[in-house]
């Protein structure tokens, strides 16, 4: 086993931003014939190269549009990078846009199984953890109600609960610690903290520099899709503060 949990090797991600979205056959043919099918190339990420050691907690800093979320999606395997490659070792659980993968017609209980399956867990594992998941989300009374009748807070609580009751090796957190009310927020931060003790590797995106400083020991800084700083959290945070002044 390698000592790195994540290796990002020279990754670039290119998007073709067509001026108008062409998604009908008619438009496509017309544009193709008249020669108007042009794309603006846009590199959301360029030459990103870094390694994350096992047990490291890495904060990803950068302004809006710097490519933070794109980078997380490349690491999670959702985007396939245009160039370069990402190596991961261990089970990865992304906590991005919690609850976006739920089926609204399904009940809470059915969604627990569905969502765990999406994350790649076997059925036996979910059977075992089911009660913990429900209890942590504080949804005992509503677990047999279709998700479409849930409030947005309830949905995110359930999403957070499923993703964290399982034991990932790599955890990707994108602005998720702003879930639910103040009480649940405290609880979820505590849960994340307790996971840190189990030597989980964490990638963390937040616009709250305080939170990043509190939770992470290392950081990288992205600017316009390029990696401009990497290292200990205090050094990188200082550079970031300099830039945001």
């Amino acid at each position: 086993m390698s000592k790195y949990a994540i290796e990002v090797n020279n990754v670039g991600m290119k998007f073709n931003l067509s001026q108008e979205k062409v998604d009908s056959l008619k438009e496509y043919v017309i544009k193709l014939v008249t020669g108007k099918l042009r794309y603006n190339e846009f590199w959301a990420l360029k030459n990103i190269d870094f390694k994350v050691e096992k047990g490291d907690r890495v904060g990803i800093l950068g302004l809006n549009g710097a490519g933070k979320s794109t980078l997380l999606k490349v690491i999670a395997g959702v985007f396939k990078p245009t160039e370069g490659e990402v190596k991961r070792s261990g089970r990865l659980v992304p906590l991005l846009e919690l609850g976006a993968g739920f089926d609204p017609q399904y009940t809470g209980a059915e969604n627990i199984y569905l969502y765990s399956a999406v994350l790649g867990y076997p059925k036996s594992f979910v059977d075992e953890k089911f009660d913990d998941i429900v209890r942590f989300a504080e949804l005992e009374k509503f677990i047999d109600v279709p998700i479409k009748n849930y409030s947005s807070g309830m949905k995110s609580r359930l999403g957070f609960s499923i993703a964290t009751q399982v034991e990932p090796d790599i955890l990707i957190l994108d602005e998720v610690l702003s879930v639910g009310d103040a009480k649940f927020r405290k609880k979820s931060e505590k849960k994340i903290m307790s996971m840190f003790k189990t030597n989980v590797t964490v990638l963390f995106v937040s616009h709250s520099l305080d939170q990043v400083k509190r939770l992470c020991n290392k950081a990288i800084l992205l600017e316009h899709g390029e990696l401009t700083a990497a290292g200990d959290i205090d050094e990188v945070a200082a550079i970031y503060e300099e830039r945001t002044k």
Binding site: D23, K26, V78, A100, G101, Y106, L114, V118
Partner: protein
């Protein structure tokens, strides 16, 4: 290379099962009769078709309802499953944007859950065969061959459609029109003899779904489907080619899906 794929497939077997279950569950949720509709629906439509067309096309045939039912059940599966597979990628956009899952799981699960519903609905055919005294012979066992071809053809078509519809949404409407054409050239509620007299029988030779239905009817009516090679080998070849093309097309384009949904 294949070892890796088999490993991933094993890991996501539970997801495939969950998605198949979800398709079946949600199809009949909130209906009073639930899964019974898989039996009632073909039964009722066959009654209507028999009433309307039996008069014109099936006067001398006491088993005409069985004839209609075989065609209708197979066609309904094909149209339902290809439509579901076509929409499957966009229907699961929320998941695809968030976590990595082998994407072929989505069209595959759509075809599978429709196939299970279809297999259940074959019970109606058994009932109808008893009522109209179409008794099975040993040839009934060869029925598994057209069912296999049907599954392959549908899966292949589903993969092709699901890939293309990510890039071109109008395909959903175009496919509805194409399905109508396919339905009328499947000889579901009429006999091909009437068409043969007018010299338009060649359209049947171009329709692999009709050829599959024909093979299946042979099995149900206790005839040997292998007597005329063309009606057996044509759909077999088309089914296999459609799966190969479907998988290749899907594999080539799947990384681009995320940019279009």
């Amino acid at each position: 290379m294949f070892k890796e794929q088999i490993k991933t497939f094993k890991r996501y077997r539970f997801l495939l099962r969950e998605l198949v279950k979800k398709g079946i569950k949600l199809k009949y949720r909130r209906s009073y009769l639930g899964i019974l509709w898989t039996l009632l629906e073909p039964l009722l439509t066959t009654c209507v078709l028999t009433l309307v067309f039996g008069h014109f096309f099936g006067k001398n045939d006491k088993t005409f309802p069985v004839y209609i039912l075989t065609g209708r059940l197979l066609y309904t599966f094909f149209s339902g499953a290809t439509k579901a597979a076509m929409k499957s990628i966009r229907a699961h956009a929320g998941m695809i944007k968030k976590v990595y899952v082998p994407k072929y799981i989505y069209p595959l699960s759509s075809v599978l859950f429709n196939f299970i519903i279809f297999m259940i609905s074959l019970i109606v055919l058994v009932g109808a065969a008893v009522v109209f005294k179409v008794y099975p012979t040993v040839w009934v066992f060869t029925g598994i061959v057209p069912l296999f071809m049907l599954f392959m053809l549908t899966l292949g078509a589903g993969m092709i459609l699901s890939t293309m519809s990510v890039f071109f949404r109008d395909l959903e409407y175009l496919w509805d029109v194409a399905l109508m054409l396919i339905m009328y050239t499947c000889a579901i509620f009429y006999k091909t003899e009437t068409m043969e007299k007018t010299g338009s029988a060649w359209v049947f030779r171009l329709n692999p779904l009709y050829a599959i239905i024909r093979c299946f009817r042979d099995a149900v009516y206790g005839r040997n489907m292998f007597t005329e090679g063309y009606w057996f080998w044509m759909p077999m070849a088309v089914s296999i080619v459609s799966v190969i093309v479907g998988v290749a097309l899907f594999k080539k384009n799947q990384d681009k899906f995320i940019l279009h949904i």
